[in-house]
């Protein structure tokens, strides 16, 4: 359940940015979550509602932009899509892939008042 801690991290950033960017209410939060980020999206949604309660983001809508896992296959000399870290290259079955996308865990933007 580290998704709860991640939501606390989101709230911390939202509260810090409130002073900098002059807003007092957050209506929507867009998060980018990579397929290899080790995050369970359902747990993140659950944690989000609980953690935001009583803050400037109470009842804010959570929009999750899911990003695909991507890795460089040195054998095929190109990027391939993967869903898990232990997957082989879908084209040549090589396991020695270098992950280069899908580990994102970012707050992209906010709709605020």
């Amino acid at each position: 359940m580290h998704e709860m801690s991640l939501c606390e991290g989101v709230l911390r950033v939202i509260e810090e940015q409130a002073a900098v960017q002059n807003y007092h209410k957050v209506k929507t939060v867009w998060l980018e979550v990579g397929a290899l980020a080790g995050v369970e999206v359902d747990a993140l949604r659950f944690g989000f509602d609980v953690v935001m309660k009583g803050s400037i983001a109470t009842d804010a809508t959570l929009e999750i932009i899911e990003l695909e896992g991507q890795a460089w296959c040195p054998q095929c000399m190109k990027n391939v899509m993967i869903r898990q870290r232990f997957e082989a290259c879908p084209e040549c079955s090589n396991y020695h892939l270098q992950v280069n996308g899908g580990e994102e865990l970012r707050i992209k933007e906010l709709e605020v008042e």
Binding site: H2, E8, Q17, A18, H24, Q84, L105, R106, K108, E113
Partner: protein
């Protein structure tokens, strides 16, 4: 109160005492809905704390290792055995992470080395901030070895950098051999896998080769050491691995992805958050 970091989690305590009170930012009221770009990593704050810890370790030649595993893999037994065997030739200290109780820190202190217990309350992992505060209390010696025993959990601790040189994952042969692919993030994040309790292999169906193949599939560069903390098999290999890293601890700190340089720490002994110890 923690004036430098200022955040507030109420559940966490170090050696039974809370380390801060909370506060929140309040913004002036302005109406009209608009979009604000943020583009911030959710773990950025943790990574900043971890970077400060990492600078602290690097400047003092401290080799910090983050020990991660499932509950019951024999982490604490391996740690007490390691301390007993190496303590005469090497300064060692320990940060213990558990949700509740100070039992593990007491087991460590019984070996004669300094240990600080972090109780995470409901938290399922240690983070960079908790470890920074623990370091203020622990004040590890220069050129020493610091073991950070994380909360027993193969999921969440993978995501939280503590500033360590290496993550060490411990898997016992009484668990499933497919754990490296069941919990790929952790085995991907670790630099070495210690396969513990190998003295029990004759009584189990555990397939060592398959387990190692799974670990290498997730992380082709992972080192594997087979050992038994209670019977002593393989411990020499583990100590040799430690010695190699202890001589050049900076190698472990240089290649960590999250490293963000922080301001240099002045003074004879300042803890990561600048408070004098």
């Amino acid at each position: 109160m923690c004036i430098d970091c200022g955040c507030g989690t109420d559940e966490v305590s170090i050696d039974g005492r809370s380390y801060h009170s909370g506060h929140h930012a309040h913004a002036p009221h302005i109406s009209n809905s608009r979009m604000v770009r943020i583009e911030t990593d959710i773990l950025a704050k943790n990574n900043e704390y971890a970077a400060r810890n990492r600078d602290f370790f690097a400047e003092r030649g401290i080799l910090a290792l983050n020990l991660v595993s499932s509950p019951g893999s024999g982490k604490t037994s391996l740690l007490t055995r390691t301390i007993t065997d190496l303590n005469s030739s090497q300064a060692i200290s320990v940060i213990e992470g558990d949700q509740q109780t100070t039992n593990d820190a007491e087991r460590i202190r019984a070996t004669g080395v300094a240990a600080v217990q972090i109780n995470t309350g409901k938290g399922c992992h240690l983070d960079g901030h908790m470890v920074g505060h623990a370091l203020e209390k622990l004040a590890p010696e220069t050129n020493s070895l610091l073991f950070i025993e994380n909360v027993g959990n193969l999921v969440c601790p993978a995501e939280f950098d503590l500033g360590e040189a290496h993550k060490v994952v411990i898997l016992s042969v009484t668990e499933g051999e497919d754990k490296p692919i069941k919990y790929p993030d952790m085995f991907h994040a670790a630099d070495v896998m210690l396969l513990n309790k190998v003295d029990l292999l004759p009584y189990l169906d555990f397939d060592v080769d398959k387990c190692i193949a799974y670990a290498k599939r997730v992380n082709p560069d992972i080192d594997v050491i087979q050992l038994s903390a209670t019977k002593g098999d393989g411990l020499a290999d583990w100590y040799a691995w430690l010695e190699e890293r202890r001589v050049h601890p900076e190698c472990g700190y240089k290649r960590t992805a999250h490293h963000v340089p922080s301001e240099s720490i002045n003074g004879a002994y300042n803890a990561p958050y600048g408070e004098e110890v």
